[in-house]
């Protein structure tokens, strides 16, 4: 795993008592980069802001995964596919900002019933 070579190198990793950060946090420097690139006029970012995001992204991934998995099992499948993620996004209000990302206009709309038939 590349984990050891990423931003974790500055923190205690694995075992031990997480003095500063939970070792499973998402890399803070990467988060900060993404924040900066979100808009041309992002100037300064406090040290704590990426930290909040690291936990928030964890919660976000958990929620999106949970909802996607619900779509998967509705389709009586065991593999989460992109279509499940797209469906989860489409059925969750707070995920509206993701609609274009998961379901670009150029791609065809997947009919989940059709998908079910193919898989069975």
């Amino acid at each position: 795993m590349r984990q050891a070579k990423t931003a974790y190198s500055g923190f205690l990793s694995g075992g031990g008592i997480p003095r500063r950060h939970d070792p499973h946090l998402l890399p803070l420097a990467r988060i900060k980069k993404i924040m900066k690139k979100s808009s041309v006029d992002v100037k300064m970012i406090s040290r704590e802001a990426p930290l909040v995001f690291s936990k928030a992204c964890e919660l976000f991934i958990e929620e999106l995964t949970k909802r996607s998995w619900n779509m998967t099992i509705q389709g009586k499948r065991r593999t989460v596919h992109k279509e499940d993620v797209a469906h989860a996004v489409a059925t969750t209000d707070v995920f509206d900002f993701l609609i274009d990302l998961v379901h670009p206009n150029t791609s065809h709309h997947v009919d989940l019933n059709e998908d079910l038939e193919k898989k069975q």
Binding site: H21, K33, R47, V52, F53, K55, A56, L59, I61, L101
Partner: protein, 212 residues
């Protein structure tokens, strides 16, 4: 072919002109830094891996949620990886707008939390506030040591593997209904109030009273 425009136009290009450079960039070359004005915005080459969270981390978090027999397709992993970046961008944009309205230069943790609440991620606020408070207790945060009373003791009763061990996502707090009363000290509840009632010209500092 571009994959989605997204809110802030992140794209994953199938053929990357600097693919040769990606190999040497396996390490995170930028160490943890404190506040600094961005000086690398002139970088015209955006390495794909810099725009997303490492896929291994994303997968690990997904696996925490999924039952052991579940499988994840590669396109689902990549999609969620892209969604995370979009989420960061989306919330940061809102937080940044607020800073600009209040003529502040630094996006703070409070700005991020405020933006999340505004954008509908109310359920995240409470666990994030607890997390942030613990970070400040143990690490001093960005304002020095804070020795306030524990903010939300009951939130973690019986499940405390470590200073930041949140364990599973804390359920059942009905976040949406208890904005003001829930956090106890008014300084935190004030977090959700109109910015015009913020303390001082520098803006909103709900933890200010806990400084000394």
């Amino acid at each position: 072919m571009e994959r989605g425009g997204g809110f802030h136009g992140y794209h994953r290009h199938p053929i990357h002109p600097t693919s040769g450079m990606q190999q040497q960039d396996m390490k995170q070359k930028q160490p943890e830094t404190t506040n600094n004005a961005s000086t690398d915005d002139n970088e015209c080459i955006v390495r794909e891996q810099d725009r997303f969270m490492p896929i291994a981390n994303v997968i690990r978090i997904m696996r925490k949620i999924l039952p052991p027999h579940a499988k994840i397709s590669d396109d689902a992993k990549e999609t969620i990886q892209e969604c995370v970046s979009e989420y960061i961008s989306f919330v940061t944009g809102e937080a940044n707008d607020r800073c600009q309205r209040e003529q502040r230069k630094t996006i703070t943790a409070e700005d991020v939390l405020w933006a999340m609440s505004k954008l509908g991620f109310d359920d995240y606020i409470e666990p994030l506030t607890v997390y942030l408070h613990r970070y400040r207790e143990f690490d001093g945060g960005e304002r020095g040591s804070i020795r306030g009373e524990p903010l939300v003791k009951r939130a973690v009763a019986g499940s405390d593997p470590g200073p930041f061990g949140m364990g599973p996502f804390v359920p059942g707090f009905h976040m949406g209904h208890h904005h003001n009363g829930f956090f106890g000290p008014g300084s935190i509840a004030g977090f959700f109030k109109d910015p015009s009632s913020a303390t001082g010209p520098t803006g909103f500092e709900p933890y200010a009273q806990c400084k000394e």
